[in-house]
Structure formats: C-alpha cells, structure tokens
C-alpha cells in the first residue's frame, strides 16, 4: 500500500512537469495556431535561469591561503562569495541557499521577454505557413538555444540544490500510521505546479484579458472585427506560456540537475500529452499530463517491468494509441481543431 501511494505521488510529480509544459504548448497552439517545438528549450532556459542566479550569487573574490595547496602544489586561492562579504557569512549563505526559489522572481521577466522576442522575432513570420514549416523552424530554434546553453554552461549536469529547509523527506502517512516518505522538494514542486495551473485558469477565466483571449481562441476573426488587437494579446500569451515553461524548469532543477539537453527529454512526451489531452484543450493538457505521469510511474515498477518487459518505455505511446483510436480528438479535444 505504501509503495502504491508513493508511485501515485511519483506520478503526480512527473505529471506536474508534463502538465506545465503541455499547458504552455496548448496555450501557444490554441492562441496562435503554432506547433512550438522550441517549448522544451524554454523549460531548459528556465532551469538555467536558476543556474545563472546561483553562479551570480556565488561570484567570489580570491584570497591566497599559504597554509593550503592547490592540485599543482601552489598556495591555494580561497574563494569567498561577494554576497557573504557584503551581507555577512550567515545572511550571504542564506541567500545562496535560496537561489532556486529566488530564481523564480528573475525567471518571470526573463522568460516573458524571451517569449516576446521569440514570437515577434521569428514565430510571427510562420503563422500562415504549414505546420511542417513551423515544426522545422521551432525545432531548429530549440537546437540553437540548447547549443548556446551548452557553449556557456558545458554539457555536464549542474547541481542546483533546494534550500536546506526544503531538503530531505517528509512522512506524509504519519497521521494514518503509515510510512510514506517523500522528498519535500518534490511535494513543493507539485504544489507549485498546481498553483501555476490554477493561476493560469483563473487568469483566463476571471479577467477581461483572459476572456478576450478565450474568445480569440474560439473565433479570432470575430474578435478582431470588434476592434480588439487580438494579435497583441496572443503575443502576450506566448510570453506567458514561455514563462510557465520557464518556471517549471526553474523549480525542476533540484529534482534533476539541469543540463542543456533536458528540454528535448521532455519535449516529445509533452507533445504526446497535448495530443492525448486533445489539441487546444487546456484542461485536457493538464489531465493528460497527470494521467500519463501516473501511468509512467506505475509502468516503471518492478512488477510491471517483469510482467511486461519494456512496458516502462512504451506505456505513454501505448496509451496515446488507445486514446486516439477510441477518441480521435483526445480526451478533451474540441471539434474543428487541427481538422480540415
């Protein structure tokens, strides 16, 4: 029972990342009609916002310690972060320790800007081009972004640990007399995802801006005829979608150390999530994200892999096939989207 619940939690955790990325993909597809293969790269750029902030906060000055030697036998150059010298060792160490949560604050404007520049600088020229062209150009853009990141940060994973206070495990089953230990940061990640997803839905549902965007998604031409600059609003939505992917990446860093390739690892799965959820359906993307996360988690258990070898590698695609055979528009797909 404990193991079962832990796999559910694992699934929700994986599903959180899938849902956030798929939500952004769906927002872009639903508003601009663009199939954005660079969305995984935005997730990765978000993670590297945290890496960058961590590096900025640990920028140090060197002092020579004659009592210690470096690997060549020369006096050791000891590094002291500037923040520790400015704010004192304790406050400085606290700021460095909280680099990842702090990175959320800087990632929001950065990702909004990245999204805006991406949309205005490149994507807008492909609105009226076939989906194949959009896929090619955004896939190429993704490779360019990841190569730039690799150039500056290298190919190795880079640790971005969570704050000490949010490290370690929590026993979620203590109240029920069970031992369901689960990493605290993963719980934080799930809660953060729910918050972001809830925020996006509330934004679209309860604000005038959101109402116009939803109307534009349903009938772009009519909204335009009402004198509303729907293109501008959609550009802003592209920025918001980029920010959602970026925030998902920032918070994912402590779960798995960021590397330049992490976006690609999520991209294909996230597209499957979008298709299973239903192209253009925001609730569908979220539902499919969590559903596939949980199924993938259970498919990786020893019982599943010994019963059906390789099931852990094909489960998502298997489910996608079954869903598309029985519900061709996906779980919550709307009629008319991606259909002639």
């Amino acid at each position: 029972m404990d193991a079962f619940l832990i796999q559910i939690l694992n699934g929700l955790d994986k599903g959180s990342a899938y849902a956030l990325i798929a939500l952004g993909l769906t927002l872009i597809f639903g508003t601009l009609g663009v199939v954005n293969f660079a969305h995984g790269a935005l997730f990765m750029v978000g993670a590297f916002c945290a890496v960058t902030l961590q590096r900025v906060l640990t920028l140090s000055f060197e002092t020579v310690d004659e009592t210690q030697k470096d690997f060549l036998g020369n006096p050791l150059k000891v590094k002291t972060p500037y923040v520790e010298s400015w704010f004192g060792p304790e406050a400085g160490a606290w700021i460095i320790d909280w680099a990842v949560p702090l990175a959320v604050l800087i990632a929001i404007p950065i990702m909004l800007l990245v999204g805006y520049v991406m949309e205005r600088g490149l994507i807008k020229h492909f609105y009226k081009r076939p989906h194949a062209d959009q896929i090619l150009v955004t896939f190429g853009l993704a490779i360019v972004i990841q190569e730039i990141v690799k150039y500056f940060f290298g190919a190795n994973p880079i640790q971005t640990p969570p704050p000490d206070a949010l490290n370690g495990v929590a026993n979620l089953g203590a109240a029920l007399g069970m031992e369901i230990v689960y990493p605290v940061w993963r719980i934080v990640y799930f809660c953060f995802s729910v918050l972001i997803i809830g925020g996006i839905f509330a934004f679209l549902q309860f604000t005038t801006f959101g109402m116009v965007v939803r109307a534009g998604m349903a009938d772009r031409e009519t909204v335009g005829l009402l004198g509303i600059n729907i293109d501008r609003k959609f550009t802003i939505m592209f920025g918001i979608a980029a920010a959602v992917a970026g925030l998902a990446g920032v918070m994912y860093g402590p779960i798995n150390p960021p590397n330049y390739h992490m976006g690609m690892d999520f991209l294909v799965l996230s597209f499957v999530v979008v298709v299973v959820g239903g192209m253009g359906s925001l609730p569908g993307a979220v539902l499919a994200g969590f559903l596939l996360g949980i199924l993938e988690s259970f498919a990786s258990t020893t019982w599943a892999t010994t019963t059906i070898p390789g099931i852990n590698q094909i489960i998502i695609y298997l489910v996608a096939i079954i869903v598309l055979l029985t519900r061709p528009r996906g779980l919550m797909g709307r009629k008319g989207v991606m259909e002639e």
Partner: protein
Amino acid sequence: MTKSDVTRRGVLKSGAFAGAGVALPTIFTASSAAAYTNEPTGGSVTLGFNVPQTGPYADEGNDELLAQQLAVEHLNGEGDSGCLNTFTSKALKGNGILGKKVEFVTGDTQTKSDAARASAKSMIEKDGAIMINGGSSSGVAIAVQGLCQEAGVIFMAGLTHSNDTTGKDKKANGFRHFFNGYMSGAALAPVLEKEYGKERRAYHLTADYTWGWTQQESIAAATEAVGWETVNNVLTPLASTDFSSYIAPVLNSGADVLVLNHYGGNMVNSLTNAIQFGLLDKVVNNKDFKIVVPLYSELMAAGAGENIKGVFGSMNWNWQLQDEGTKAFVKSFGEKYGKPPSNSAQTCYAQTLLYADACERAGTFNPCGVAEALEGFEFDGLGNGPTLYRADDHQCFKDVLVVKGAENPTNAYDTLEIVEKTPRAQVEYAPDHPMFAGGDLGSCNPGA
C-alpha cells in the same frame, strides 16, 4: 564526311567509369600499393581522435581531446614532455613517431555507435588516420573496435568499462588500457565488506546496455562472494532522466544497500534522486542504508555535487596519486589547461603514448607489428604503476583505485578521495573467465 565513332552514350559511359575511378576512396586504391592501411608515405603520420564532442558526454570528450593534444605535443618534442620522462620504455625520443611528425584529426562520436563508426570511418578513409583513440562509452568502443578491425587500423580504446570490450567482443586490432567491470567488483567487494560488513542485502539499478549488464554481473558476483545477497536487479532505460519510480520500490524491498550501475547523466540523476528520497538517512535491517556507485569519474562526481559524500566507487586512475608518472602528467596537463585531468583523459593520453611507443619498438606502423609489440608488453611510469598489456585479450592489468566521495573537499577538484590502491594481483582473472567468454580475438588485420 567521315562518320565519328564517338557517341553521346559512349562519352557518358566513359565519363562515369572515369569518375567512379577517381572517386574511389583512397582506402581501396592505396591498399593495392601499400603494405597496410594508410601506410604513411610523407613526413607525417595522422592519428584519429574519436571522442564525444557533442551530446551528454561532451565535457568528458573535451577532456580526452585535451589529453590527446598534449600527447601529440609531447611526442613531437614540444612542451615539458610529460610522461615521456617517466615512462619506463625509452623508445620515444620526442621526434614524432619513427621520425615522422605526429598530426591528428578529430571525430565526434556523439556517444552514438553509428555516429562514432561514421566519424572513425571518415578519419580512416578520408584523413588517412592510422590509429583511432578515444571515446566514453562501451557501446561506442565495441562498435568502433569492430570497424577498426575491418579497416585494418589499430584501435586504442578510451573510457570503456564493459567486460565485453575485451571479452566476447574483443578484437585483434583493439587494445584497452582502461579497467573493466570485473576489476571494479574485485577491488570494491573487499572494501565494502570491511566497511559495511558481510550481511548486506543489495538492490541494483542497472543501465540497460552492455556496460550496465556486465558491471552488474561483476559487482553482484563479487559482493555475493563476500556474503552479500542480491535482492533485486532492475534495468533502467538509458534515456531515463527521473529515477524516482525506480527508487521508490527500494524503500520497501528490505535492501540495505543500493548499487547504482549507472554512468554519466544517469548516475548524477539516480544518485540525486536516491539522496532526495532520504535513502542515506534510513536504517534497514538495523544497519545504516548505503549507496555504492561502482564506476566513478571526476566530471560526473562534480555533477553529483555533495550527493557523493561518503559514497564508494572505483576508478582507473586519479590525479591525486603520488607516483612520478601521475605527477608528471598532472603538472603538464594542469599548467597547460588550469585543471587536473580526469581518468578518461589519462587513459587516452597513456594509450596515445603506448601506441607511439609500440610503433617505435616494432619499427613499423603496420598494425600487425604494432599489435605484436603491445601484446605482453610490461611497463610503468604512466601513472598506474606496473602494468601488463595481456596478449590473450589485449586488456591492461594494473592496480585499481577504490575511492569515495570526499567528506570535506577543499576545492572543486578533490571531490573524490582515494581509499585504497587495490593491487593488480587481486583484480586479475584468467583469459577464459566465464564473464569474458564467447569471443574470439581473431588475427590481426593490416587492411592491405
């Protein structure tokens, strides 16, 4: 009016034949005249360095390339000569190889077998490379080794730890300086027994490819021999990024040790995930839970950060060794590049020098002569202590290092500390050992 015999069709046919003849790869045309593939005819000889320059092991590949470039410098008499001063064989004079200046070309393996074969093929056929060296994956090493055997050039493997490289997939033209999974098990098991006791229950997570399989088999056999029980072995896809689903069952398995037969990004992620789940804080069977990472690399250790503290593993070599060969190499590499070399860099450097030395001693670049010079060759002074290149399987036998994650590293480079230098005798095995059975070294192919 005279009738010409020249027709449009005839011209096209002749042109096509002539074009095909010109376009034939030099590997075919040269072989008719040369004694062996890519026999050097000018004043230089070309080596091919095939390392991952893109992909997840690009940093490791870059480190290998730095070491290979350093080796070329030293062979050509530039720089401080590095290990040429400490190498027990004195055949190398710092004037290239057999008087020919050493040049090199590079290829990108991308840590993909097909890409690695393509880049090696290109270096052999187009650039005239007479030897291929490098790599950071056993799958790649085995693929490239097979290609070199067919092409008739020597393959001096880089980082490859699968038993199969010099086991069932061994080839007469292939040579491995790096240690292997069996040696890791033989070196680690006694230390683990001493540190953690005889009655332990181990749960293995294993990367699902040749290296993972053979390492798991080796570690399980060695630890079972000292009394440990293997509770389970779960194969994980190489493309896995999140190991939480695989870690969770460990919690309720009754195991008190987790063995991570992972390397590279897999190792960094699985270890990070295991630490996240608080495994090292657990007490199972009245014992503190432990994690073991049988194969370490400095670059991966840096990626894993503080998570590796106190975690045991093994290495082929470490820059902190204090023998003269290591000191010379670390000084040379450190002064040139500002950082200590990794063990994959060291093995590539050593392999390049060993190849050059074998050519000098054989008096030829002919792969069969070089292979003969390497077979049974005993040497010292390259950083690993007294070493034998065994003739039976082309595997180097030398001391193996047992290391653990440093508790209090003082800088970015001493993340690992040496626990024990396991003597060569303890990690040796018979050429027909079951874990290495099924292959045939075959005979040397000079390619001509």
